[in-house]
């Protein structure tokens, strides 16, 4: 068994695609129309085109709002991505206008930072020690 796909709920799929590709640097993998306006929209890391896909899932379901808003309220990230160097990535994203709710912080064996994906979620990036 392996993790093939995971998802984040996004307010607006087109906006999410722009943020996740142009700002974060993922690449689009699948974009299939589903229903009237929704898309099966996934992105992957350019380093691992055949790796785990991230589904940018429409946030229309009524349960989603409470779930996401409550997590954001407490500052809890919804997903975590690995980066080579959290500090470097923090500076790169900050310069692109990304809003961080937690600056890079050494937490025992890992360094983490948390930012707003502008689509309704907080995302954590982390670097493991060398």
């Amino acid at each position: 068994m392996k993790i093939h796909l995971t998802s984040v709920f996004v307010d607006d799929q087109a906006k999410a695609l722009r943020f996740y590709t142009e700002i974060l640097g993922f690449v689009k993998k699948h974009d299939v129309p589903v229903g009237e306006k929704d898309r099966w929209l996934t992105v992957v890391s350019p380093d691992e085109p055949g790796g785990t896909e991230l589904l940018l899932e429409p946030a229309g379901h009524p349960a989603v709002k409470t779930y996401r808003d409550t997590l954001v309220e407490d500052g809890i990230p919804l997903a975590q991505f690995a980066v080579e160097d959290v500090n470097a990535e923090y500076e790169r994203l900050r310069d692109l206008g990304v809003r961080f709710t937690q600056e890079p912080l050494e937490m025992g064996p890992v360094t983490t930072a948390v930012f707003d994906d502008t689509c309704g979620n907080l995302i954590q990036i982390a670097t493991k020690p060398q």
């Binding site: 309220e73 937690q102 912080l105 707003d116």
Partner: protein, 100 residues
């Protein structure tokens, strides 16, 4: 004199929270919880941390602010001055004013 202040400071976990806010003011509940567990090996629940923060806030040592969708906790050390003012002893090293 505010009993709330002494009650807030009497708990070691709350003092640790203040230590961490001294290092960086303006943290989300998530960051405070992460610091307590990762840096101090304090495995306490979010609810417990939230209650500790409420006690600190009641004593005026922590203030919260909202920025859009986020809530940050800031340190306010102003109430601590009451302690020094209450038991302030004149500094012995100060030169005494004496007649020549």
């Amino acid at each position: 004199m505010a009993d709330d202040l002494f009650r807030a400071l009497a708990d070691p976990t709350r003092r640790t929270i203040l230590d961490e806010l001294t290092e960086k003011s303006g943290q989300t509940l998530f960051e405070i919880c992460a610091r307590l567990s990762m840096k101090h090996q304090l495995g306490i629940s979010r609810q417990a941390v939230s209650q500790h923060l409420a006690v600190l806030e009641a004593a005026g040592l922590v203030e919260t602010r909202r920025e859009g969708r986020y809530k940050f906790h800031d340190l306010n050390t102003a109430p601590l001055r009451q302690i020094t003012e209450r038991w302030l002893v004149p500094d012995a090293s100060e030169p005494e004013e004496s007649a020549p």
